[in-house]
């Protein structure tokens, strides 16, 4: 208990800021890497990942500005909750099927959703500051992220039990931590005095994001790639 009190005593926003900054840089890194590879690989899943993580980076920076800039009104919570839910949802959807048609459809829908979300971000100053029936609305909006993340966790856990790879293990661990972090944010909507739980949740989520970063930084053993090195006899002349 003393430890929790101590957390609050440091700074109300410190842990939330650390989370926002970690989330921003980690998501931005993953997003930029996914986009740069997409240009050279043209795999729709990379585009979905890039767009999703880019949107999550945007929510992180919006959240940071919303929490720290007091001279302007930014009601970023709407954008933060909805954009994160939709971004994780698209990551989940992109995992479900591998067919080309399906992946293309996902990309199309995600581009439309991203445009709408950016519009929501632009409208941030005009959005109502308070949520209608705050406890329920916030629980639904914030809880939906937790639900989607826990589904992603199960997806990776099942993948890991099918074939043990460090990538699927780390991804399942990351999404479990992120999901737990989101669940722990919910109690504060129902009454005061639960901020410490929320802060522990923020720390758990930060750990989750760091694990996610480690997972996507893994290199695959080239010997296991299963790709056949191509040896062309003679490249055709262009005459």
């Amino acid at each position: 208990m003393n430890q929790n009190v101590c957390l609050v005593a440091i700074d109300d926003n410190l842990i939330a800021n650390i989370l926002a900054i970690t989330l921003f840089f980690a998501s931005l890194f993953i997003s930029l890497r996914a986009f740069s590879l997409y240009i050279r690989a043209r795999t729709p899943r990379l585009l979905v990942l890039g767009l999703s993580m880019g949107m999550i980076a945007l929510t992180a920076i919006a959240s940071y500005i919303g929490d720290n800039v007091t001279t302007l009104t930014f009601n970023v919570k709407w954008f933060q909750y909805i954009a994160q839910t939709i971004s994780f949802l698209f990551i989940l959807l992109s995992l479900l099927r591998s067919t080309e048609d399906y992946q293309r459809k996902i990309v199309r829908w995600q581009i439309i959703a991203s445009v709408l979300l950016v519009l929501l971000l632009v409208l941030t100053p005009f959005l109502p500051k308070d949520f209608p029936d705050p406890a329920v609305t916030k629980t639904l909006l914030s809880g939906s992220r937790a639900v989607i993340c826990i589904i992603i966790f199960f997806y990776y856990w099942i993948a890991f039990t099918t074939k043990e790879t460090s990538f699927s293990f780390l991804m399942s661990a990351a999404f479990l931590l992120i999901s737990f972090g989101y669940w722990m944010a919910i109690p504060k909507y129902f009454g005061p005095g639960m901020e410490q739980v929320d802060q522990v949740g923020d720390i758990v989520r930060t750990c989750g994001i760091l694990v996610l970063l480690i997972a996507v930084s893994l290199r695959r053993n080239p010997a296991k790639l299963g790709r056949v090195p191509l040896q062309l006899e003679n490249p055709p002349s262009h005459a």
Partner: protein
């Protein structure tokens, strides 16, 4: 000729075994058969065949498991294994090849395609004279203009990679297509356009399309199909195969 080239057929259907055995014996191969996975593994260890034709769905252990067990044995690392199955979606085929099989032959298949494939996976000195003669008249001899003409009418489709982002890291760089023309072609492939139509979209010449297709085929990024949806053996279009 000393010892005859031995082919082990593992298939639970007796009629399928007899059908394949008949074709291969006519070509000069010595054929042994097994009707389940355990018997197949045992015969493979006892008889040391030069090639194994393996049905995917078997009683007891599956064809995939037989394939894995054989590959796990040092003596069978290079043993040519052909999987045959009615399960012939791209996912099944890709999974089968990942288990260590050299080729995947969808059922039903023709006499020619079986002989062709067995001939393809065996080194030349192990092919009986009849099979060598057969290969001489096969489409493997497609070359030059003939090859390009055949290619024009085919439809390239992107291969599914269900493991990407599920079991393997999509950001590790392994998905990159290093060749610019191959990348341009890959971006234009939608599973409906023929190679000829892709030529006009990508502004690549047919020879460049051929080369780009070779790169993508070798990387298992695409598969070729006829207009009526039949999959084409990609090795026909790969140099040095």
């Amino acid at each position: 000729m000393g010892i005859a080239t031995t082919v082990l057929i593992i298939d639970d259907s007796l009629s399928a075994c007899q059908f394949m055995a008949g074709i291969l014996e006519k070509e000069g191969y010595r054929v042994i058969t097994a009707t389940d996975g355990h018997e197949g593994v045992m015969k493979a260890l006892q008889e040391r065949p030069h090639c194994v034709i393996l049905d995917v769905i078997l009683p007891g252990i599956s064809g995939f498991e037989v394939c894995r067990r054989l590959r796990a044995n040092d003596h069978y690392h290079h043993l040519p294994i052909i999987l045959v199955s009615t399960k012939n979606t791209p996912v099944d085929q890709s999974w089968g090849l990942r288990q260590g099989a050299d080729r995947y032959l969808p059922k039903p298949f023709t006499e020619e395609s079986l002989v062709q494939l067995v001939g393809d996976v065996l080194p030349e000195h192990l092919r009986p004279p009849a099979a060598l003669h057969h290969r001489g008249a096969s489409p493997q001899r497609l070359a030059g203009q003939e090859l390009l003409l055949a290619l024009q009418k085919l439809i390239p489709r992107r291969s599914e990679d269900p493991d990407l982002m599920r079991l393997s890291n999509p950001l590790d760089g392994s998905v990159v297509i290093p060749d610019k023309q191959a990348r341009r072609l890959y971006a234009a492939i939608d599973g409906r356009k023929t190679a000829d139509e892709l030529c006009s979209i990508t502004h690549l010449k047919m020879k460049e399309i051929h080369r780009a297709l070779q790169i993508l085929l070798a990387q298992h990024r695409i598969q070729l199909y006829t207009r009526d949806g039949k999959r084409v053996d990609s090795s026909l279009f790969l140099n040095g195969q």
